[in-house]
């Protein structure tokens, strides 16, 4: 029975497509999959905005929104209906475009943001047999369209003819480009061990159990470090705290989307959160086992429930980090990426190679953990080398 529940969406898709002649089936099933993604993930986005506001509120020792239910009815949802009036507000706000702005580019920037991010969802495996496009180089496709987001950030910042927007856009692009390298290098370790760029194959490689515990990549030394690097780089790619200097209100008003209002701002907001979900989805696929269960006695739970449960846990950790950590300065960000994460990612690749070529056993765990710990200690010391923490000196005031 649980196998049927596991494949319920796949069977529903086949059943719907069977009403049509042979030639139309691939097109229609692709369209149905696209429609499902366009419904599920923006709904998740709406729920996550409410969760984020309530979560941040609780971390900051206050309630979040707690009154709004479903408008025009008497149903009380303790604040979880907040996204409905928020959405209506964004849709009905006046769309102000600055007079000196470059109209065509200003109009196209939110569109160019959303299209690559929605394309990235097509390769993620949401469950067993549940990825829309099963490319041989699926991981490369995801990383390529993730890199195409930077053009949209530049378009938004430059077309507004506002020095704060341009500065925010340049900072955001520099940050995204710098953190793409540790992101890709930590994904490379997974590809090395699995031997394929196909995301379904990567998940299937983690679908084995030893002593009842699954072979998730995060349970290995190189996978643990890889996941940590990937997670930090994902925070930076989606411009979340502690890397939200380009868009923080106290820093640069709103960075590259200062001059956007109404529906275009809603599209940027949507694009940013959808990007966050997509890259969390990729992290789950690469390191946390995708749709597999952690323990062998839990495999009866359907695979898509595992994927979305892990996604919700990671989103919760994103929100937690946002409420807890302070923001990094631009030079601290760049130092961290180039002087700590990049060397550690390269050492991680070495460790993954050592892991692969040593035979299975306890020795490789010890050797790999020792190499990683040594590299982490050395790089950490190197990064702290120039920090002189002492009594504060005032250069000009007395």
């Amino acid at each position: 029975m649980f196998d049927k529940l596991d494949q319920i969406f796949v069977n529903a898709l086949h059943w719907l497509a069977s009403f049509l002649p042979e030639a139309w089936r691939p097109l229609v099933s692709a369209l149905i999959c696209i429609a499902v993604i366009l419904v599920v993930f923006p709904t998740l986005f709406a729920l996550v905005t409410v969760l984020e506001r309530k979560g941040l509120g609780r971390i900051q020792n206050r309630y979040g929104p707690n009154r709004v239910g479903i408008p025009f009815t008497k149903i009380r949802l303790a604040g979880f209906g907040q996204f409905i009036p928020d959405g209506m507000k964004m849709l009905t706000k006046e769309d102000i475009v600055p007079r000196a702005a470059d109209k065509a580019v200003h109009f196209l920037a939110p569109v160019v943001l959303l299209i690559p991010i929605l394309l990235a969802y097509s390769v993620l495996p949401f469950g067993r047999n549940m990825s829309i496009a099963d490319y041989d180089a699926g991981l490369l496709f995801f990383l390529a369209v993730g890199g195409a987001v930077e053009i949209s950030v530049f378009m938004a910042g430059w077309s507004s003819r506002n020095k704060y927007s341009l500065l925010g856009a340049m900072r955001a692009i520099a940050q995204m480009v710098s953190y793409e390298i540790p992101l890709i290098l930590s994904a490379v370790t997974v590809v090395m061990i699995v031997g394929s760029l196909n995301l379904n194959e990567i998940v299937r490689h983690q679908d084995q159990f030893t002593f009842g515990i699954a072979h998730w990549h995060v349970f290995t030394p190189w996978g643990f470090v890889g996941f940590a690097l990937f997670f930090i780089a994902a925070l930076a790619e989606s411009n979340r705290t502690p890397f939200d200097l380009p868009e923080a209100e106290s820093e640069i008003i709103a960075g590259y989307f200062t001059e956007y209002s109404g529906f275009k701002f809603a599209l940027f907001f949507l694009g940013e959160y959808l990007g966050m979900f997509a890259i969390s989805g990729l992290g789950i696929t690469l390191f946390l086992g995708g749709w597999t269960a952690p323990f062998s006695f839990l495999t009866w739970i359907p695979s898509w429930i595992w994927f979305f449960a892990k996604l919700l846990v990671i989103i919760f950790v994103f929100i937690w980090i946002r409420g807890t950590l302070p923001r990094l300065r631009m030079d601290q960000l760049m130092n961290f990426a180039w002087k700590f994460m990049l060397p550690l990612a390269l050492v991680n690749i070495l460790v993954a190679g050592v892991w692969h070529f040593m035979g299975a056993g306890a020795l490789r765990w010890l050797v790999c953990s020792a190499i990683i710990f040594g590299a982490y200690a050395v790089l950490g010391r190197g990064l702290m080398h120039n920090q002189k923490l002492g009594k504060r000196i005032y250069k000009f005031a007395e």
């Binding site: 580019v105 041989d136 390529a144 890199g147 195409a148 053009i151 530049f154 378009m155 394929s196 760029l197």
Partner: protein
Amino acid sequence: MSPFFIITAVVTLLGAVFAMSLRNLVHCALAMAVAFSGVAALYLQLDAQFVGFAEILVYVGAIAILIVFAILLTRSGETPVKSVLTSGWWAGIAVTAMVFTTLGWAILNSSATPKEIPAAPVATVKNLGDALMTKFVLPLEIVALVLTLAMIGAVLIALKEDKSENSGRKP
């Protein structure tokens, strides 16, 4: 060819024409990004998946951003008021026409273009990796060396020289 191919080719060529003829440099750079995406779509239709994705990653994700940064660092973001064409531009157009005519004639009348279409090749990543590590390992290492040298060279060339600006100035 399929209509999809024709549409993609038209979009690519339009992007290229706009990239070369618009007055504002940033618009040219964005049109170039559109042309690159069009070329990536053409690669995907020719069953070259890996190259198509690599094109988006390298060209749209890195080279377009690089060109945009260079435009901003050389303060060329505003629309120029003077002429944008170099002196003697008509000679350039004439040479282009001759180049295209020669290429077109060679393509349409050559005997090197075979008449039958082979089956779609399977360019899996595994075959690519095998080829790169066995037959093409020397070019791979040389390209790695060239990229490192290019990176160091580009940083050195574009580095700001503080000493030469401050020499001779009183403290």
